[in-house]
């Protein structure tokens, strides 16, 4: 797609793109290339000795039990966040689409968690779940569950998943509701006349027609769980207990800023970049398909 009518100037277009390109070069391309370069080097924390080691940092990472564990934790975390988040939001969106009055009121009541910072979401939930003073551990104790996410790694994972899902509900809900409202009523009415009940209609008509939205949200939620949950993890568990909630992004930060293992942190950054690029490609292929419809 191109404009037929254009302006002419030798210098103006360059001046117009200059600010964006300057920032992009200084803060995106230069650091990214530094990460690539450093990932091939072995440095001590004070920068006094540097040695070129080729792919040794990567080989080392994939032999490192801690890194592989962090990979598994990230996969479990994002599957749980995407799975629970999508199911819960879809349920609410279907209900909101079903009711005649008040759908907009419910939308207003459900969209504001989007505005809450991930780090704040983490703080709200650790307050609720605090083993010493939280209200939820008190209720849980009454039904025989002893809650202490500072010691129990499964409970720590549950806590960060809940906080991450809570923050993402609004986003998923909005997209599901928009998707549901764009399904032609006549299809559903026809099925109802043929005698299909609400459950049958949902699974044979609504759910399949909603699949583009679901797939899109699945990718978005995985990206979210991978990268945007740093604040939740840092404020709620700091990756602990042990390493049980140290997702990949958190590990880059820990190894780079706390452990000062520059080569390893850079190699981890490069692996994360590869993951983002992969996910972006998937997303764009999907969008191209949507355009053809």
């Amino acid at each position: 797609m191109e404009k037929r009518v254009v302006f002419r100037s030798r210098w103006l277009p360059y001046a117009l793109v200059a600010p964006q390109l300057a920032i992009t070069t200084a803060f995106f391309f230069w650091p990214a290339s530094q990460a690539l370069f450093q990932s091939l080097l072995l440095q001590d924390p004070f920068g006094t000795s540097v040695q070129f080691v080729g792919l040794e940092n990567f080989a080392h990472l994939f032999r490192d039990e801690g890194y592989l564990a962090s990979f598994r934790i990230t996969v479990v975390f994002s599957v749980l966040v995407a799975g629970i988040g999508l199911s819960f939001s879809l349920l609410l969106a279907v209900m909101a689409d079903h009711i005649v009055r008040g759908a907009l009121v419910f939308r207003t009541l459900l969209i504001w968690p989007y505005a809450v910072a991930p780090a704040i979401a983490g703080v709200l939930w650790i307050f609720l779940f605090s083993p010493a003073i939280g209200i939820l551990p008190y209720w849980l104790a009454k039904i025989g569950i002893h809650w202490n996410h500072l010691l129990d790694s499964r409970q720590a994972m549950t806590l960060v998943v809940i906080a991450a899902v809570w923050k993402q509900v609004s986003y998923n809900f909005l997209f599901f509701l928009a998707g549901l409202q764009s399904i032609p009523r006549s299809l559903i009415e026809a099925a109802a006349i043929d005698g299909a009940g609400p459950m049958r209609r949902f699974w044979t008509i609504v759910f399949p027609l909603l699949s583009p939205t679901t797939f899109f949200l699945l990718v978005v939620n995985i990206v979210y769980a991978f990268f945007d949950t740093f604040g939740i993890i840092d404020s709620a568990t700091q990756g602990g207990p042990g390493q049980s909630t140290t997702v990949l992004v958190y590990k880059v930060f820990q190894d780079g800023f706390k452990g000062l293992d520059l080569g390893s942190s850079a190699a981890q950054s490069v692996i994360l970049m590869a993951i983002v690029i992969g996910l972006t490609v998937v997303q764009f292929r999907y969008i191209e398909r949507k355009v053809q419809y």
């Binding site: 404009k3 600010p19 390109l21 079903h98 780090a119 709200l124 010493a132």
Partner: protein, 282 residues
Amino acid sequence: MVEKRPALSAAAYAILALGVAIVALPVYVTFVASTQTLDQILEVPMSLVPGTELLANYTAALTSGSERAASAPVGRMMVVSLVVALTVSFGKIVISLLSAFAIVYFRFPLRMFFFWMIFVTLMLPVEVRILPTYEVIADLHLLNTYAGLTVPLIASATATFLFRQFFMTIPDELAEAARIDGASPMRFFWDVVVPLSRTNMAALFVILFIYGWNQYLWPLLITTEESMYTVVIGIRRMIAGGDAATEWNIVMATAMLAMLPPALVVLLMQRWFVKGLVETEK
């Protein structure tokens, strides 16, 4: 609705009400805690009825912060957050408008190359280039400055794309008329393109304001001075001492204050928010 099934509708309302209650629970408890004294909060279980300390807690938080954690006043943090959020959102809108205008309305060598350069930044979130970006800022002596907090966040592929898509829909006749009348490109930009883009700017503003206000990793790295903490970072520092040392009444009041501006922006600009969310993801 296709058929009348009162039981089903009632169930739908019940499930929605339950969903809203679950979603609202943490914020309600936070609000209640922000109106009690620290001793009342530490009682197990704490009362779920708002207390009487609302004014005292919020005033204490705003004017002196958490004294046990020796934090800066939250009032100061709110100012820093506001400056950051506004600079990031306006900065992104301005530079994206300019570069999208150049890419759509001019033909020049390297045009597509620049376009792809901007596009690729989508794939490089801060989280994956933490250390080297930090080094750039440190080398430029921008640690603990507003410039360091905001400039690296200002480049935006999504905003540039959104404006590019929108400019493509502006009728060619307008540009043609402007050229025949002898208007310069910048005149056309100011008098036609900018006014037409107002709705898109509003939609983007909501999304970008929240993005700027809620930044966490970046300010965490480059601010070490109390006076440059954003409110999100400030809360994190207040709870760093662990359960026993935390003044939860002040922390919870601060949390409410930190949530208020972005929540207000979302609720008051709901129409643009939904538009912005849907369009930036296209």
